[in-house]
Amino acid sequence: MNEMTPNAALAVTTAKDWASDQEVRWCPGCGDYAVLKAVQRTMPDLGVAREKTVFVSGIGCSSRFPYYMATYGFHTIHGRAPAFATGIKLANPELDVWIITGDGDALSIGGNHTMHVLRRNLDCQILLFNNEIYGLTKGQYSPTSRIGTRSPSTPFGSVDRPVAPCMFALGSGARFIARVIDVHKSLPDVLKAAHAHRGASFVEIYQNCIVYNDDVFASFTARDFSAERQLWLAAGEKMLFAGGTKGIALDGERLVLKVVEADDPAVLVHDPRNRGVAAMLIELPGQGFPVALGVIYEDPAPTFESSVVEQNLAAAKGKTPDLQALVSKGQSWMVEKEPRAE
């Protein structure tokens, strides 16, 4: 599709250029606003053209996102965005595809498609807005809600054990897994890393639903303990937090992670390609431990659409698409006789 807009990709844009003319319809104070702003601010730095960008979403508050971007957008049906995205990307691999989804959309009704788009490694960015609740349908609990969540459908508290989105992604074969906070300043950097990664980039965004699940992440996002409770990972850097005073190391006995003093030589250096450690980081046990944030795991692999295109070309090689030959295929015979009357 390039020729139509030769150097559109080069055109310099600002955040405003990426905002559509549609009135934003989220509740005042919703975390979605922060993410929208961050994305709009990040797009100009990615060197992609608006017309080459497609935002695909399911259904949910978060899934209204595409309407607010001045790009191509497809607000589809609940839970199926990854399937639409797969068709779009296979039909035109040149497009830059973003999937916008929620914890219910991606992990309740849509869990299967999330798994398959990850294992196939379709080149796309998946932004999962995790507010641990169903916002759009007025506050029922979701598969990421903690046990005991009281909601209209669980007036006595939910009893089922939540799924950990990043752990699910790891188990599904994701090759890029990151975790961030809606209002955190480093969101744009993570978005850039996700975009730079070729393949399916899974980004879980802790998003505050001010109406139905306010402050559910406060225990580690609130100003006062953020330092204590947030472990920001960077490839090749030591795993330090609490203002660089504490670190994460491996307990050689029990083979689990532990908190140590920053100067302890055992402090681990973050290797985003280690799947075993990634699993431990994603599931840091809470109590006394920080929450691992940033790019937790990254290990590129061939993308689905590139393999498909490659095979299509290879298989077609040397063959000419001759329709007449196709319909004439197989053993055939001539009939000379006159058509019978009747």
């Binding site: 049906i77 199926r80 797969t86 068709g87």
Partner: protein, 629 residues
């Protein structure tokens, strides 16, 4: 060696005539799933076609899973009806039954016409096999087959004998039985062995000794018929070639014809095709065919389920390719929510339903046409879409092209109905001249038209179609989705006015398709009169033959076969009103009947058969007599 069943008798003159004159013969090959009957049948079909006979076949194999050898539920059969007249059906009762084991005999013999010929491999009639088939005593001895002509000999032994020179193990040797039997059949009907010999050579190119062995078996079977004095019952039939339109012919199954038709449609539209499917019997064959045709710009995608398949296909259409998805009943049920989005976003999409017996898992390998309700009415809300039905394997080719034409011209999802019978059945196909098909190239919107200031994804052309806009097109960025929209701009709009208008337009657009489809033709008979037999889909053959026979008997009856179910041709209403009675034979409980009565308020009466088996000509003929007596 050849023993006639006690009390068997030669078919009498009258019996012979009771059966429609020897213008056509119905032969059924039946054996164990492992005996390769489908293969035997397929090759016999080919040689028959090459001999210039018209023909129709009906493969009838057990449910997807392989059953243990020798059991009745493991029996696989292949029926072919061929002859010198036009053949539209696989035939009613077989004239000849070739049964490779007791179970095959048990399951199929009841269908053989009285006086018909039975050929069995008595080598397989061991106590063990008889027991498996549920025979106390051997039917070859107990006279229970009295009303047929019985011939039996030890095909197994004869085959092993014949292939000895090639030093195969006993198991392999016995695998050649089907070729031996085919050889005998070829002799019986005076067919040429050459094409089959060629085929065997290429098939076993990597294992020449197997090729040789099979050829030897084939020849042995043929020689056996030639030389051994089988006696009258197996007299040598010679069937003249059927008069057919001159031209180049080949045999084709519905699944292949439909697949090729989709390719042709995409090419005529100037589009690449994206086909997304999830395996399900009997729909899988289409995915299998298309997966090999990448040079035609086709991408095939085996999705994780039917929902993902329809969604991916819609995504591809959104991105500018021709999105196609295919399944059968249970899978289509899962697609209905997604189809609703295609209706709402007005994107082109072809949905193929290869119908099978139901409800639920039902009878996966049996045929039925009971998904018409689902196709016409089976969505939430007011979600009309065009529905087309193929009547035969070769017709599936034309219908596929028509589905693509409508989907792309009107920006609408189209449902294409076929069924297990059409999918698997083979028939001679006059190879189409592709140059004679008018292309219908698609044009994508490239820029905002003068008269609009901004991009209007829901602007309408005179046929109410909206523009097709490819992501990647600069200046036309826009957002669409499943929420109700404002006309023109397509922006979210819940207002009563917008919903009423958009609902009206969606319906009017589909109704408008009527202007680009042909008027309804009458296939056989006058276009008014006593009785119209109205059908759709794969009932074409039996209806046509039944009406033909009834007319030969001087009855005032016509055959009307409907391809366009939504919308129906403009002239259909008046046409139907011209008949005193309307009979609608369907392999369901009367679904087309509902549509006809609703649309035209005519007293259409249903002739229903829901058994997983196609209609027999006689069943429809009897219903015609019933209506007209």
């Amino acid at each position: 060696m050849v023993a006639m069943a006690t009390a068997s008798h030669i078919v009498t003159e009258t019996e012979a005539d009771a059966h429609p004159a020897m213008e056509a013969v119905v032969v059924r090959f039946a054996g164990d799933s492992g005996d390769g009957m489908q293969l035997t049948g397929g090759q016999f079909t080919l040689s028959t076609a090459l001999a210039g006979n018209d023909l129709a076949t009906f493969p009838d194999f057990p449910a997807e899973i392989r059953a243990p050898q020798g059991t009745t539920f493991g029996v696989s059969a292949f029926q072919i009806n061929f002859g010198s007249c036009a053949i539209d059906t696989a035939g009613d009762q077989p004239d000849v039954l070739i049964a490779m084991n007791p179970a095959a005999l048990k399951v199929n013999v009841k269908e053989l016409r009285e006086g018909g010929l039975i050929i069995v491999d008595d080598g397989e009639f061991t106590q063990r096999n008889l027991a498996k088939a549920g025979y106390e005593a051997s039917p070859l001895e107990d006279g229970s087959l009295a009303k047929w002509q019985l011939v039996h000999f030890n095909i197994s032994a004869l085959t092993v004998e014949a292939v000895k020179p090639f030093g195969l193990g006993n198991k392999e040797a016995l695998r050649c039985k089907n070729m031996w039997t085919l050889g005998l059949a070829l002799w019986m009907f005076d067919r040429d062995r050459a094409p089959i010999v060629d085929w065997l050579k290429t098939k076993f190119a990597k294992a020449p000794e197997l090729a040789e062995a099979n050829i030897a078996a084939l020849n042995a079977g043929h020689a056996y018929g030639e030389t051994v004095e089988i006696g009258t019952p197996v007299r040598r039939h010679h069937i003249d070639a059927a008069p057919a339109e001159p031209g180049l012919y080949r045999t084709v199954t519905g699944a292949e014809a439909l697949s090729v038709g989709l390719v042709a449609g995409a090419q005529l539209a100037g589009l690449k095709m994206f086909f997304a499917g999830y395996p399900i019997t009997p729909a899988s064959a289409i995915l299998h065919h298309l997966a090999r045709l990448k040079e035609f710009g086709i991408t095939t995608f085996q999705a994780e389920d039917e929902i993902a398949a329809v969604c991916a296909a819609i995504g591809a259409s959104y991105a500018g390719q021709l999105g196609v998805t295919s399944s059968s009943g249970p899978g289509i049920a899962l697609k209905t929510e997604g189809i609703g989005l295609a209706v709402m976003t007005e994107l082109p999409l072809v949905i193929v339903n290869s119908q099978r017996g139901g409800p639920s898992t039902g009878l996966p390998t049996k045929t039925e046409q009971s998904d018409l309700y689902q196709a016409v009415y089976g969505r939430n809300a007011d979600s009309p879409l065009p529905v087309i039905a193929a009547r035969s394997p070769s017709d599936a080719f034309e219908c596929a092209i028509e589905a693509v034409r409508i989907a792309t011209r009107y920006m609408v999802p189209v449902m294409l109905l076929t069924d297990g019978y059409i999918a698997n059945a083979a028939e001679p196909w006059k190879v189409p001249d592709m140059a004679s098909y008018a292309p219908f190239p698609v044009s994508f919107l490239e820029e905002v038209p003068e008269h609009d200031k901004i991009v209007m994804p829901y602007a309408r052309n005179e046929e109410l179609a909206r523009p097709w806009i490819k992501p990647g097109t600069a200046g036309l960025e826009h957002r669409i989705g499943g929420i109700e929209k404002a006309p023109g701009s397509g922006n979210i709009d819940y207002s009563p006015e917008a919903h009423a208008e958009m609902t009206r337009v969606r319906a009017a657009k589909v109704a408008g398709v009527v202007h680009s489809i042909p008027d309804q033709a009458v296939c056989l008979g006058e276009d008014s009169g006593e009785l119209a037999v109205v059908g759709w889909g794969s009932t074409y053959g039996p209806i046509h033959q039944a009406v033909r026979r009834a007319r030969l008997r001087g009855l005032n009856v016509s055959h009307i076969h409907i391809r366009h179910i939504v919308p129906m041709p403009k002239n259909l209403g008046p046409l139907l009103k011209g008949f005193k009675q309307i009979l609608v034979p369907e392999m369901n409980s009367g679904q087309l009947k509902t549509v006809l009565r609703d649309h035209f308020l005519v007293d259409a009466q249903s002739l229903s058969k829901v058994s997983g088996q196609p209609f027999r000509i006689a069943e429809i003929e009897a219903a015609i007599d019933g209506a007209l007596k």
